[in-house]
């Protein structure tokens, strides 16, 4: 079953074509990694998929329901209720966490389930504690974001997204703001989620990680998909741009 389908997406900022006709789909349980140089449009693509950005052309569908399309040259989102429901299909983990600084860890991850989804208090708190324990944050539920390390903050933000029970979870360079040690913490959490068959789309610069964890890799360059396929396909590609990009990476390490 296809959870997400993006067809012929185009997006320009101030006349600069950032995404030029990209199509992709994500199956249930699939892990898609999107890699490529900075400025290639990866994050924009993710922002379009999560309805934070409008599209100039094309169509986005979640579970066969239209989430964004274009009518008469104008971007269209569904009506309020429909849009809300579609939004509940996915979650997003940001590069710089975007936790709510005035909420404790517990409130950060339970407020939306309680106030938006209107779930029962007991059930929500029980799940929150279970999730915090899994993330190694069981002693942090009363802490505030500023008291946590970057890695801990990112784990809270992953927990916050998971609490909403999304069908598909997006990661926008989840480790780019973290040092190598903390990066490892986050990658382990994502690996654990992969083992539970969580459907994920991950924009990342962690090549070895993408190679290990992803089922499918998309290499983006200058707003187009330059190469895609299994990790073996992409990392073994003869495409010169990819060789160059990956070569630089390995020579730097």
């Amino acid at each position: 079953m296809k959870l997400l389908e993006m067809n012929h997406i185009k997006k320009a900022f101030n006349g600069v074509q950032v995404i030029k006709d990209i199509s992709l789909s994500v199956e249930k349980g699939e892990i898609l990694a999107i890699i490529g140089p900075s400025g290639s449009g990866k994050s924009t693509l993710l922002r379009c998929a999560t309805m934070l950005e409008t599209i100039d052309d094309g169509e986005i569908q979640y579970l066969g329901r239209r989430a964004a399309w274009v009518e008469g040259g104008k971007p269209v989102f569904p009506k309020k209720e429909e849009r809300k429901e579609i939004q509940s299909y996915f979650g997003l983990v940001f590069q710089n966490f975007n936790l709510f600084p005035h909420f404790s860890v517990m409130k950060n991850i339970t407020d939306a389930p309680l106030k938006v989804q209107r779930r029962g208090k007991e059930e929500v708190f029980e799940e929150a504690r279970r999730l915090l324990k899994k993330m190694g944050l069981e002693d942090k539920e009363n802490a505030y974001p500023y008291q946590l390390s970057g890695g801990q903050q990112q784990r809270v933000s992953i927990a916050r997204a998971l609490m909403m029970h999304p069908n598909i979870l997006f990661f926008d360079e989840p480790t780019s703001a973290l040092d190598p040690e903390l990066t490892g913490e986050i990658l382990k959490v994502i690996k654990d989620l992969a083992a539970e068959h969580m459907t994920m789309v991950i924009v990342t610069h962690e090549m070895s990680f993408a190679r290990k964890v992803a089922d499918h890799i998309i290499f983006m360059d200058k707003g187009v998909i330059a190469e895609e396929g299994t990790p073996e396909d992409v990392f073994g590609s003869k495409n010169e741009r990819i060789r160059e990009f990956l070569g630089k990476l390995t020579s730097e390490r």
């Binding site: 939004q87 975007n98 600084p101 505030y144």
Partner: protein, 215 residues
């Protein structure tokens, strides 16, 4: 005139000073929010009008504004302005301070990172929920020092109503000083203003401390 009598008269005037101060705050703090929404309203004519209003309020002396609010109804429509003085004062002060508060609120609201709105949207919060639960509490913390500044200025600005011959502490002090040829009432009034502002600053610091639990 004995010191005691002088003190009692000044205290009575101080009561009026406090009345103007508190009522102006009660009206202008929420009104500032309304003005802010007008300022950023997507309907252009509204935001233009509000911009002009803010510009006038900030660009002309409060004393002049008070005189206009008080005397304009009489000169323009021949209205009997007998019992209207306090109303005119409250309208003038509240509208003036609301303009300043609106700009303070705007600076606070605009300093909230875009990511906070995006995170809230992704979690399904409605626009109202996002504003009242996520944005506003953070704005309060950010604007508190600037608001404190304005509030302290307001304590001192209450003395401007003496231009309408409204009897509050400053007017009383001036009267006594002239009648008794002594500088003492000015000195006492100064002490009152200072103590009042010292208390205001203390209370505001308390609010700031209460919001210290996060950064």
């Amino acid at each position: 005139m004995s010191f005691e009598v002088m003190l009692r008269q000044l205290l009575e005037g101080f009561g009026q000073t406090c009345l103007i101060f508190f009522l102006t705050l009660v009206f202008s703090l929420p009104l500032g929010m309304v003005v802010y929404f007008g300022r950023v309203c997507r309907i252009k004519p509204i935001s233009w009008l509000v911009k002009i209003y803010i510009s006038i309020m900030r660009g002309t002396p409060l004393m002049l504004q008070l005189l206009v609010w008080y005397f304009a109804p009489f000169y323009l429509w021949g209205m009997n302005i007998g019992g209207y003085k306090l109303t005119a004062i409250l309208i003038g002060c509240s509208l003036n301070y609301a303009a300043y508060f609106a700009e303070i609120y705007r600076s606070g609201i605009e300093s909230i990172p875009k990511g906070q709105y995006e995170a809230a949207a992704l979690l399904g919060y409605s626009r109202q929920q996002t504003f009242f639960k996520i944005v506003l509490p953070q704005v309060v913390k950010i604007v508190l020092p600037s608001v404190t500044n304005e509030v302290i200025t307001l304590v001192k600005d209450t003395s401007l109503v003496y231009s309408l011959s409204y009897v509050e502490m400053f007017a009383v002090a001036k009267q006594i000083a002239a009648a008794q040829t002594t500088v003492l009432p000015f000195f006492i009034a100064g002490v009152f203003y200072y103590i009042f502002n010292y208390a205001v600053a203390g209370v505001m610091e308390l609010f700031e401390k209460r919001l210290d639990y996060y950064r």
